[in-house]
């Protein structure tokens, strides 16, 4: 039930239209939210695409009834027009063995953030006042990162860097340029002679796969491995409650990044790790997730690099976390900042536990698997 909203005028509080202010997202808001998403994040493309509406509805409306008290939110202005949205994905997690509800906040957007900065501020404030145990985001841009920190959220620097590994430098440059001008991707074959030459130089030697092999991973195996590999984490999803089959199916919809590879890495018969990435031919792999058994992360990363190189890819990029950061530092990676992972809880004891150990809140555990990140809706 939305609380009534009021606008303060000289004569006192005047009731605004019944639905004005911050209210729970409902099906009636869907066309406006889809249009705003297309305008904000896709330059207007796909604003009336049924697939976009369907995706937003699946992610933010068709949810587990247990999370009905933590809805996605819209802001409705005094004219009754939707001018802000905050998508909320709630999931069951374990924090030091205790069940907790983690609410991820993504797709925070306002129709006119420069002229009406009140919208984003109100949406985020309402979200953070919700009944979830932990609030988080792994896609906070500079503006929303500022909002989070003002509301006592903690930025996790070790989880907020993007790592980049260049495999083929000339092709990598063309692929990067192709993000801005897709026609440039047709120049990829021209890079191959230069990259063949660069491959003879130490820094760009073909990565060696080591003693490992890999195979296509099904959702059941991946789910079991994610559970096993995250056993020592202080905060991790309740993997048994995650419909990983559906999540992996959703994760495949990233047309901007390319087809998905979900591979199990084995040493002999033993599964020691897994990785999931998206890449176009001759493109840059967007690594969604890497997981490994204790002590096996370096071998899994080496195998990932070799796998990408063998497929003709020109580089890889992904999100850091503390254990990855340590392994990547010695593997000719570059680091930059694009989006921050932020987390907060009203419970100081919970925040202390969160700060005390490894967190599994990115990739398949977080929100970057969603088609809203990396997909084109037509």
């Amino acid at each position: 039930m939305a609380e009534p909203a009021f606008s303060q005028h000289e004569g006192g509080a005047v009731p605004a239209p019944p639905e004005a202010g911050v209210v729970p997202f409902s099906a009636t808001h869907l066309p406006a939210v889809a249009g705003m998403f297309a305008q904000t994040f896709r330059g207007g493309a796909g604003r009336s695409a049924e697939t976009l509406r369907r995706t937003i509805a699946q992610l933010f409306l068709e949810r587990d009834a247990a999370y009905a008290d933590i809805p996605s939110l819209v802001h409705v202005n005094a004219d009754g027009r939707v001018d802000g949205f905050l998508g909320v994905h709630v999931a069951a997690f374990e924090c030091a063995g205790q069940p907790v509800r983690v609410a991820f906040c993504g797709s925070l957007m306002a129709a006119s953030p420069d002229t009406d900065p009140f919208v984003g501020a109100k949406l985020l404030r309402r979200f953070l006042a919700g009944p979830q145990d932990i609030s988080a985001s792994e896609s906070a841009n500079a503006v929303s990162q500022g909002l989070w920190t003002r509301l006592r959220g903690a930025v996790l620097p070790d989880y907020s860097l993007e790592w980049i590994r260049v495999l083929r430098p000339a092709g990598f440059g063309i692929a990067l340029a192709g993000h801005a001008r897709p026609a440039l991707r047709h120049m990829a074959p021209l890079a191959r002679p230069f990259d063949a030459l660069a491959g003879r130089i130490g820094a760009f030697h073909a990565p060696q796969p080591g003693p490992c092999t890999d195979e296509e991973g099904d959702s059941a195996t991946i789910g079991a491995l994610l559970e096993r590999f995250s056993a020592d984490a202080v905060l991790r999803p309740e993997w048994s409650a995650v419909d990983l089959c559906r999540r992996l199916a959703d994760a495949r919809h990233k047309a901007r990044y390319g087809p998905m590879q979900a591979r199990i890495v084995r040493r002999g018969k033993a599964a020691i790790g897994l990785f999931v990435y998206h890449a176009h031919p001759d493109g840059i792999a967007h690594v969604l997730d890497i997981a490994a058994a204790p002590g096996q992360l370096p071998a899994v990363i080496d195998h990932l690099f070799a796998h990408a190189h063998a497929r003709g890819l020109v580089g890889l990029r992904g999100r850091t976390r503390p254990d990855l950061l340590e392994a990547l530092l010695t593997r000719r990676c570059h680091f930059s900042h694009r989006a921050a992972t932020v987390v907060t809880s009203r419970d100081p004891a919970l925040m202390d536990r969160i700060r005390s150990g490894r967190l599994v809140i990115n990739g398949l555990a977080g929100e970057n698997w969603m088609p809203l990140i990396g997909h084109d809706f037509a």
Binding site: E3, P4, A5, F6, S7, Q8, H9, A16, G21, V22, A110, P113, T115, D116, P117, F118, V119, G120, A121, K122, L124, R125, R126, V143, G146, L147, R150, L151
Partner: protein
């Protein structure tokens, strides 16, 4: 009462939105948004300040330009 509130507000705005530059004059009716003194982050900063400093509770529905977009409006809102 209103003078005390306004003085405190001006001090807060100078310190946080003007980064200590007290040479810039802000009229009581100047829009903090249109004059690019306050963005969405600044709004939350301001709300936190009002709650902490004046001991009031700012409801979501009160976070609107009519209450918070100028020194005069904020003063009137706090004094209510």
């Amino acid at each position: 009462m209103a003078d005390t509130i306004e003085t405190a507000l001006r001090s807060f705005i100078t310190e946080n939105f003007l980064f200590g530059d007290d040479s810039r004059t802000i009229a009581g009716t100047d829009s903090l948004i249109q004059n690019e003194l306050m963005d969405s982050t600044g709004i939350l900063e301001l709300v936190a300040y009002l709650e902490d400093h004046f001991g009031i509770s700012v409801a979501d529905e009160d976070i609107v330009p009519d209450n918070l977009d100028s020194i005069d409006r904020i003063t009137a809102y706090v004094a209510r």
